[in-house]
């Protein structure tokens, strides 16, 4: 019912229309959906979670446990909103949830009859024969909250970071006073509140913003409501003042969940803020003084107050009198809102007078003020339950947890408060126990004969109040969800490149041409690399420059290879290990000058290797004169590979002698190229394909131009862009391993045939000592070998196991292809003792069928490497 006058929050000059469950109603600007529904005498707005009991509006703010609604916006719907938090707007479409066919007549109310079968933890006890899954679907459908539409949210609010000296949470009287005082002593103050904030000078106000979490070192997460969207704020403060107030708790008695039973302070707030009275005849049930001023206020507006039942006086009367009313306003006392304080490691202690938890020891930089600090007038005579059926006395309204459930938990030995919570789910609903927590633990204390202070509270964790995933995601959805690194050449995507994620880089898997399948495209690219010329963008290759008098010494300690014997202008393929002897990364390194080296890493290893190098340089080897500069992003790397590669590169106009004698395989040269600006290039003759290759490093800004130029210059030779799939085939044909594919967290260089090479190096290097451990020396370790299936066209899927006669696994396939060059299937595998089993035929298990394959050398194609040395 709406009174003719009054209401501090409403603007009667702006009437609004809205619908609830299809019926049209009127309200005013400033109303919440709850106040507008109460103004229109809508008593049943929801059905409870488990038992589908009819429910009405219970509270007035964040604490609302019962009035959960769904707001419909076109094809979109947002479920599980508290009607007390939904700001009324013109044309708002709201509906009830968890009820069918309607909230007034819900078939699932039959669950209430089944209550004896649905106690706490029922899924461990009932509905078990013959099988839980028979019942699960039906039970899940009847229990619950709202439904989502399945549409994508159209708009996003990006988050905000914010710093201040003093953060005051709560803009009530105590919060405002604290903010004002702090501002006056010159502090940078920010004040947040879930509702409105009247301006304060020199204070940054964040209204409609609910603090939801306190994290280490005074970081506070808060959610700002902007229309129907949410924005996440991350606020770092030097000091936090908790002016978070207190929430009224209800009394627990039989049928205390009926529509019309409300928190007394909510009845008072509806009267003052919205000029709304939830009924025409209000009774009060209380154990403290707070209700009397509210009763007075109602009487002064000519509302009938039929009776005030005060547990401190009228104990005997509870059983024997009948009182007619349509609203029963209850007050069991007030709980200071200390969830956030507690998350920030504030300690709580139980206060007998208030029968509530108040702040105890506060960590530095935190304090509580006002009602949150326990500054609440008057005492409370606690009463945690009433006579009558315990199954009909609700402790947690939102999850339908009753006194009977708490008694059951205690009987079954779940007597710690944390067990009580998990067993009964009390306090675990979206309202996070705001009106149920203390009632539940106090009741548990009473049942188990313990002081409430000894029972304690459960651990409070963020979020204090529900937050949408959209708010947490902020702007990072859609094309922003995945952070990809992009190659410097833009040509790929526009010319048939099928782009895929390779270690966080977007790279072409292959280049699709009209009328060809993926397999045909890959085979075409492989043939071009083997017999003509291929072009690929390997710019993601890690490139780290190392300078200094001790550069060679430094690298010599990192690589298993001998670095000091590398002359300027030469390259060497190297391996780095972790200290446990496991292969960390491989790549080519080069000497540019005695005090200048270039380290190339795998694309995925670039950051890790640079980090590893700096760690040793800064922490352990400070005596070395060496500096490391990763330059992966500065240099694009375009590689021309194939028997025709040299003649094509020669047409570029680089001032480098490219002849075989002057520039052999595994050498590096620098010069400039005849492009606009005469940019510098560094050219490496190193090969990942097994064909003669020229890896050209050029400043990334010239990459597009160089790519196009090479395509033009190589047109006569049919130069072909090469994708990742073809690259993989080419390297498998050569038996070149890929770290992380053919190696794992246990593979040492001894397992891939590097034992002899390492023995030649006298000095220590990282991981060396691990290689002499007995376990690393065993002959039956998984060792990398080649495999050729007896059926030459049988593809061996990566990961399939090799098995012995008894069917026990003896290894697995790590890389595999049906080679277009060799016209047969080849693979690499890690096989127990494989190094000494060359020639042996073993069984490969593919989906239960055994196939025979011969162990052989990994270098299937051009094993002598003659094609590299052109």
């Amino acid at each position: 019912m709406r009174l003719a006058e009054g209401g501090t929050h409403i603007d009667r000059s702006r009437p609004l229309s809205f619908t609830f469950d299809g019926r049209a109603y009127q309200g005013f600007a400033g109303d919440t959906l709850a106040s507008a529904l109460l103004a229109n005498d809508v008593r049943v707005v929801a059905r409870s979670f488990k038992f589908h009991r009819p429910r009405g509006v219970f509270g007035v703010g964040l604490e609302e446990p019962s009035a959960l609604v769904t707001i419909v916006r076109g094809p979109d719907r947002e479920p599980n909103l508290r009607a007390t938090e939904v700001q009324l707007s013109d044309g708002l479409v709201a509906c009830s949830q968890n009820a069918w066919p309607s909230v007034r007549f819900d078939l699932a109310a039959i669950n209430g009859w089944l209550a004896p079968l649905l106690p706490a933890g029922f899924y461990h006890k009932t509905f078990k024969w013959p099988r839980w899954s028979w019942y699960e679907g039906a039970i899940r459908r009847t229990a619950g909250l709202g439904r989502i539409a399945g549409t994508a949210d159209a708009t996003r609010e990006s988050k905000r970071f914010h710093h201040c000296d003093v953060l005051v949470i709560g803009a009530g009287a105590a919060g405002r006073a604290a903010a004002e005082a702090a501002a006056q002593r010159g502090a940078d103050v920010t004040l947040v509140d879930s509702g409105r904030i009247a301006t304060l000078p020199n204070v940054r106000a964040l209204p409609n913003t609910t603090a939801i979490g306190c994290y280490e070192d005074r970081l506070v997460a808060a959610i700002e409501r902007i229309g129907d969207r949410q924005r996440l704020w991350k606020i770092r403060a030097a000091e936090i003042v908790f002016a978070t107030g207190a929430t009224e708790r209800p009394l627990v008695f039989e049928n205390n969940d009926r529509p019309g039973v409300m928190l007394a302070s909510a009845v008072g707030a509806y009267l003052e803020r919205y000029a709304v009275v939830p009924g025409r005849n209000v009774a009060f049930f209380t154990n403290n003084d707070s209700v009397y001023p509210i009763a007075e206020a109602l009487r002064s507006r000519d509302v009938v107050v039929s009776t005030i039942v005060d547990t401190r006086r009228d104990d005997a009367v509870l059983d024997s009198r009948r009182v007619d009313c349509d609203v029963l306003a209850v007050s069991g006392g007030f709980n200071p809102n200390l969830q956030l304080f507690s998350q920030a490691a504030g300690k709580l202690r139980y206060d007998e007078k208030l029968a509530a938890f108040i702040p105890g020891e506060a960590p530095p930089g935190l304090r509580c003020v006002g009602a949150a600090a326990g500054e609440i007038d008057g005492g409370v005579a606690p009463r945690w339950r009433s006579p009558g059926n315990p199954r009909k006395q609700w402790v947690d309204l939102q999850y339908d947890v009753t006194v009977a459930d708490v008694e059951l938990a205690a009987r079954e030995g779940f007597s710690s408060v944390e067990h009580l919570k998990r067993y009964t789910s009390v306090g675990m609903a979206p309202d996070q126990g705001k009106t149920s927590d203390v009632n539940a633990l106090a009741l548990l204390g009473e049942i188990t004969g313990r002081a409430i202070g000894d029972v304690g509270t459960t651990t409070f964790r963020p979020p204090y109040h529900p937050v949408t995933i959209a708010a947490l995601a902020g702007a990072r959805t859609g094309s922003l969800a995945q952070r990809y690194r992009r190659l410097p050449v833009a040509w790929h995507e526009k010319n048939g490149g099928v782009m895929e994620d390779h270690s966080g880089w977007l790279r072409a898997a292959f280049y699709r041409r009209d009328g060809e399948s993926e397999a045909q495209a890959i085979a075409r690219e492989v043939r071009a690399a083997r017999f003509g010329a291929a072009l690929f963008d390997s710019s993601s290759l890690g490139k780290i420059e190392v300078f200094g008098r001790d550069a060679a010494e430094f690298l010599n300690r990192l690589y298993v290879n001998n670095v000091k014997t590398l002359a300027p202008g030469r390259l060497r393929y190297g391996m780095m290990l972790g200290e446990n002897g496991v292969i960390k990364d491989d790549g080519v390194f080069g000497c540019l000058a005695p005090d200048h080296y270039l380290v190339c890493t795998s694309s995925s290893g670039a950051r890790d290797v640079a980090f590893w190098m700096e760690e040793w340089r800064q922490c352990e080897w400070r005596e070395l004169d060496v500096r490391i500069v990763p330059q992966t992003a500065q240099w694009a790397t375009l590689t021309v590979s194939g028997p025709k590669s040299r003649e094509i590169v020669a047409r570029l106009g680089v001032d480098i002698d490219l002849s075989a004698q002057a520039f052999p395989h595994m050498h590096v040269r620098s010069g400039s190229v005849a492009l606009k600006g005469d940019p510098q290039v560094r050219v490496r003759r190193a090969s990942y394909t097994g064909e003669m290759s020229f890896e050209i490093d050029i400043a990334a800004e010239h990459a597009d131009l160089l790519w196009s130029r090479l395509l033009e210059l190589g047109a006569a030779e049919n130069i072909t862009p090469l994708g990742m799939e073809a690259l993989d085939v080419l390297r498998v044909e050569k038996g070149f391993l890929e770290v992380g594919v053919d190696t794992d967290g246990e593979t040492t260089p001894l397992d891939v045939g590097w034992g002899e090479a390492i023995a030649k190096k006298p000095e220590d290097f990282l991981g060396r000592r691990s290689l002499s451990r007995p376990a690393q020396q065993r002959a039956d370790r998984l060792q990398l070998v080649g495999l050729q299936p007896e059926d030459p066209q049988l593809f061996l899927p990566v990961g399939v196991h090799a098995v012995d006669d008894a069917g026990a696994p003896i290894g697995h396939v790590t890389s595999s292809c049906v080679s277009p060059t060799l016209n047969r299937s080849v693979a690499m595998a890690r096989i127990r003792g494989g190094a000494k089993r060359s020639g042996e035929v073993i069984a490969i298990d593919i989906d239960g069928t055994r196939h025979r394959a011969r162990i052989c050398d990994r270098a299937f194609y051009d094993p002598q490497g003659a094609r590299l040395n052109g």
């Binding site: 996003r156 970071f161 200094g548 500096r627 510098q680």
Partner: protein, 140 residues
């Protein structure tokens, strides 16, 4: 995308670099200086960024490297920066002319304050596209 402004990376000590380039880079952490060869930003105790194109060379472990393609520079307003940067951006904590390396939505960046409301944000080229998308999204 803005033009590429950062031209050279200097690595070495303040004194060895003074020998090599003729002036002393700023020694105070996270500050910038206007040198004879352009604006210079402190990145690490032994590394600086120079917005000017001097000769690429090295002497032992002291080096001047070409990084003219390495970063893309974005001009970002304070509000947009606050949408992704966890640094304290109040002027008393991050004065005009100061710089910092940090992360914005998991993208490593170099931030330099040009004015009360304007920042240069340098992003390495491979992530510049992603950063540009993000900037557009928070600008709305």
């Amino acid at each position: 995308m803005a033009e590429l402004d950062a031209k050279r990376l200097l690595t070495g000590t303040v004194s060895t670099l003074q020998d090599l380039v003729g002036w002393r880079p700023p020694s105070e952490p996270n500050t910038s200086a206007h040198t004879p060869d352009g604006l210079c930003l402190w990145l690490r105790p032994d590394q600086w960024l120079l917005f000017g194109g001097i000769a690429v060379r090295h002497r032992g472990s002291t080096a001047v490297l070409d990084v003219s393609s390495r970063w893309t520079t974005f001009t970002v307003a304070l509000d947009a920066l606050a949408a992704g940067c966890s640094l304290d951006l109040r002027e008393r904590a991050f004065a005009v002319g100061r710089c910092a390396q940090t992360r914005i939505e998991q993208v490593p960046v170099i931030v330099h304050r040009r004015s009360a409301d304007q920042f240069d944000v340098l992003v390495e080229r491979p992530l510049a596209h992603y950063f540009g998308l993000w900037l557009e999204a928070v600008g709305k």
